[in-house]
């Protein structure tokens, strides 16, 4: 396993015309690691991936892949020599090629014979359970099938780093399994890594080893999924990673972040129901409390009338940094 980070960007700045899409981002992805880039649309996720892939030239900053500087010093290395694969937002399947020829394309570019490239492509399509679609063109494939072909093409590239540019649909369990398995086996030999851009918190938290939060071209926080979920650096980071309420700390020490499930009904504190929504396995109650508005999730349960007085307990809270103390 290589000691160098698979991807390392330093002080990356990208301007689109007069607007800054990235304002100084520094980030490392270790070999074998899956890093999720989480941010709202327009936060710079795609721009960051495009800079890493070589689809655009950063205004300033350095991009290094496996210790090799590919952008920032001297002539930039073109995309085809960066040893990357990209799964595109809308999969970017070539309308004139069949699924098989699409997946064989990277091997053909490596110089393999048509027969060999196709044999490998067939095997990859098989691993993703779409071998029967080998002769179809993109127009004849569903969204999910296109995703599998797009991922198969990326796998066929056998790169050091996979980039996922906000795939429109979630990776389903099987596809995700094949991909992570591939990553693990490649990790043993060469240290493949992946960067997965998404605006979906649940997907990012469930897939990644580490999560990087992006907002308006800046990194807000980088950490394990548990860290960014339970200990967000500010209210923006908190809202990005899942539903939460911000209330005054009972001891008056500042603002407190309370996730769903960190408070329960019944107990010493008072409140009044503002709204109540039945969601199947659980019910969410929005409660007016002296400390502020709080969303409490009750397992099972039923809707409560607006205005009903209830009591509740605070199980856990996270003091947002910038304020005194920690919960």
């Amino acid at each position: 396993m290589s000691a160098e980070p698979a991807v390392e960007v330093t002080d990356l700045v990208v301007h689109h015309g007069t607007t800054a899409a990235l304002r100084g981002v520094s980030l490392q992805v270790l070999p074998g690691e899956v890093l999720a880039l989480l941010g709202p649309s327009g936060s710079g996720k795609s721009t960051l991936l495009h800079a890493v892939a070589g689809f655009l030239e950063p205004t300033s900053g350095v991009v290094r892949l496996g210790g090799r500087t590919v952008s920032g010093a001297g002539r930039p290395v073109p995309p085809e020599r960066r040893d990357l694969a990209v799964v595109f937002q809308n999969y970017a399947l070539w309308p004139h090629l069949t699924a098989l020829d699409t997946v064989a394309y990277p091997a053909r570019r490596r110089g393999e014979s048509r027969a060999q490239a196709r044999a490998e492509g067939r095997a990859l399509l098989g691993r993703l359970h779409v071998a029967h679609l080998a002769d179809r063109r993109p127009a004849e494939l569903s969204g999910g099938e296109q995703q599998r072909v797009g991922l198969a093409r990326a796998l066929a590239r056998r790169p050091a780093v996979y980039l996922f540019d906000e795939p429109t649909a979630h990776l389903d369990t099987h596809v995700r399994g094949v991909f992570l398995e591939e990553l693990a086996s490649r990790r043993r030999e060469s240290g493949a890594a992946a960067v997965y851009a998404t605006h979906d918190a649940e997907e990012a938290l469930g897939l990644a080893d580490r999560v990087a939060l992006l907002d308006a071209g800046r990194l807000v926080q980088v950490g394990t999924p548990e860290q960014v979920y339970a200990q967000p650096v500010d209210a923006f980071a908190a809202r990005l990673t899942g539903p939460a309420s911000v209330i005054d700390a009972p001891d008056g020490s500042g603002e407190l972040l309370v996730r769903l499930g960190w408070a329960r009904l019944g107990g010493p504190l008072e409140g009044k129901v503002r709204g109540s929504w039945f969601r199947g396995p659980h019910t969410d109650h929005l409660v007016d409390t002296p400390l502020g508005e709080l969303l409490i999730r009750e397992s099972g349960g039923a809707c409560r009338p607006v205005g009903e007085r209830i009591r509740w307990t605070l199980l856990h809270g996270w003091s947002l940094p910038g304020h005194d103390g920690r919960g």
């Binding site: 689109h16 015309g17 899409a21 649309s41 327009g42 936060s43 710079g44 996720k45 795609s46 721009t47 495009h50 892939a53 070589g54 689809f55 655009l56 030239e57 002539r75 930039p76 073109p78 995309p79 085809e80 960066r82 990357l84 694969a85 990209v86 595109f88 937002q89 809308n90 970017a92 399947l93 070539w94 309308p95 004139h96 394309y105 990277p106 570019r109 490596r110 127009a139 093409r153 066929a156 590239r157």
Partner: protein, 547 residues
């Protein structure tokens, strides 16, 4: 299915009116042509028929084989948004489209032929310019911008940036990506450009006339012209009619299968937008090389010839070096006679009336085809697009010559027949993009049918109508293929005066007239192009793939 709008009767009425007008303008003349040809067919077999036909077909094939690759190369280079001076290069490459065919051909003789610009200055000239090779090359230069436009539009619509990025990231270099993905995606458009260039070359007249006729190289169109305007004997008349029929048959034989094969493949998968593809970064050396090649191409094909033409128009005499000391406006004074002024007035009036009527005719078919009854009219109109001007002119002469021979009315009818489809396409396109719900919303808000059209439909359609009008106006202004066959004493258009002047060998005056004609056509067209770019500029600046 009933639409908010006019009653069905009025709709059917427009369709019927369109079909009747088409029959008068195109159907009957072609029928007369066929009847006369059939009448004469078994009798005389005039000489020179096969040669003209062979020349035309070989020429059209050779022009297509060269112009399409040039157009593809131009489209690939010019789509890079980071190309230095991109807008300027686009204008330079499209320049031959703004210059009347005749003027382009004539300007080449002023630049590269004996006693031309390069001959006077460097003592080098190209003897082959007057002859098949020269006709071929100038037709290639003339057609390449058209091929470029067709391919560029297809690339903008089909070659999404991600498809090329996917190829690059899969290990393909820039050249491999262009071949395996970019051009491959535009292949139907490339083929369509080929058919278009082939058909237009079959019917092209001015350039073969200026460069080929002096060397005895005859094509179908120039042979028809020679037979009708010079030869007065019955054999040449029969030959002209026969050639007119053969020309339309060859054209139809080429376009019909191409239309069947290509039409389904040309339907865009997503609407074309004006945004240039966010290109991958290119090496500065490559960009410099491309800029240099573009500069050389635009300079040699259009820049130098047009400059030589301008110099010839202001240089006192043929043979003297075109230096400021020898400059004078004598030629302009010579040509600006009352006769020229009258011809100019006629050309302007004809173009004005033709363009206005054509927008009405185009609109008529565009509205009619919204119903099933009108689709036939639309299909027939589109078919006239490939009718060679020479054929139309001979047909009209046979059909209405008895009453209208040599009148401006006959020339006007020819313009209407030839350009109807040209006016119809942009209007129908704009109407297709116009959401019908907007008209319905106006009606339920209380507007009557006419008020709804005036307040809701016309404003968004205005640019298309204006564009169609200008396109017809400018084309009519320099039309020479049909005018030169149909004019008579007192109905010469400016383009005919220029052609006659060239045939008389008056170099300085012809150059001066060419400059006048070019300014007349290119100036409004250039202004229009500039204005359209300015209007659409904000949309262009949004970079693709942000977020």
């Amino acid at each position: 299915m009933s639409r908010v709008g006019r009653p069905a009767g009025a709709r059917t009425g427009t369709a019927v009116a369109a079909v009747v007008l088409l029959a008068v303008l195109v159907g009957y003349p072609l029928l007369r042509l066929a009847l006369v040809a059939a009448d004469e067919w078994p009798g005389v077999r005039p000489a020179g028929l096969g040669e003209a036909l062979r020349n035309t077909v070989v020429l059209a094939g050779a022009v297509t084989l060269a112009a399409v690759p040039v157009g593809v190369a131009l489209a690939l280079v010019l789509r890079r948004p980071d190309l230095p001076g991109r807008a300027l290069w686009q204008a330079a490459v499209l320049l031959p489209l703004l210059v009347p065919d005749f003027v382009l051909g004539y300007s080449w003789t002023q630049a590269y032929a004996r006693a031309g610009f390069t001959d006077t200055l460097l003592g080098v000239h190209w003897a082959g310019l007057l002859g098949p090779a020269g006709v071929w090359l100038v037709l290639v230069v003339n057609a390449a911008p058209l091929a470029y436009l067709v391919v560029a539009v297809a690339l903008a619509a089909r070659a999404e940036p991600d498809l090329e990025r996917a190829a690059r990231i899969s290990g393909a270099g820039a050249a491999t990506t262009a071949v395996t993905v970019t051009v491959r995606l535009a292949l139907p458009a490339v083929a369509a450009a080929g058919v278009l260039v082939f058909v237009l070359t079959l019917g092209s007249f001015a350039i073969p006339q200026v460069l080929g006729a002096p060397a005895g190289f005859r094509t179908v169109t120039t042979q028809i012209y020679a037979d009708l305007s010079l030869g007065g004997d019955p054999t040449s008349f029969v030959r002209a009619v026969t050639l007119a029929v053969v020309l339309v048959l060859v054209t139809a034989a080429c376009t019909a299968p191409a239309d069947v094969l290509l039409a389904p493949r040309l339907r865009s998968q997503r609407p074309a937008d004006a945004r240039p593809a966010a290109a991958l970064p290119a090496r500065p050396a490559v960009l410099r090389g491309q800029t240099l090649a573009l500069g050389g191409y635009a300079g040699l094909t259009a820049g130098l010839p047009l400059a030589a033409l301008l110099l010839a128009s202001i240089t006192r005499a043929v043979g003297v070096p075109p230096t400021p000391g020898n400059w004078a406006l004598d030629h302009f004074r010579t040509v600006l006679t009352p006769r020229t002024a009258e011809a100019l007035g006629r050309s302007l009036a004809l173009a004005l009336v033709a363009a206005t009527l054509l927008v009405l005719l185009g609109g008529l078919v565009a509205v009619a085809e919204r119903r099933r009854a009108g689709r036939t009219a639309a299909t027939l109109t589109t078919l006239t697009l490939v009718l060679p001007g020479s054929t139309l002119a001979v047909g009209l002469l046979l059909a209405y010559g008895r009453w209208l021979s040599g009148t401006l009315t006959l020339i006007l009818l020819a313009y209407l027949a030839k350009l109807w489809a040209v006016a119809h396409r942009p209007i129908a396109g704009a109407l297709d993009r116009f959401p019908p719900d907007e008209l319905r919303a106006a009606r339920v808000s209380g507007a009557g049918a006419l008020t709804a059209v005036r307040t809701v439909a016309l404003p968004p359609l205005a640019p298309a109508l204006l564009g169609a009008w200008l396109l017809c106006f400018l084309t009519a202004l320099h039309e020479v293929t049909m005018s030169s066959l149909l004019y008579g004493p007192g109905s010469e258009t400016l383009a005919v005066v220029v052609l006659n002047s060239q045939e008389l060998g008056r170099i300085g005056p012809t150059a001066a007239l060419s400059v006048v004609l070019t300014v007349l056509v290119a100036l409004p067209a250039g202004l229009l192009w500039w204005a359209s770019r300015r209007w659409s500029a904000p949309a262009r600046e949004v970079p693709a793939g942000v977020g």
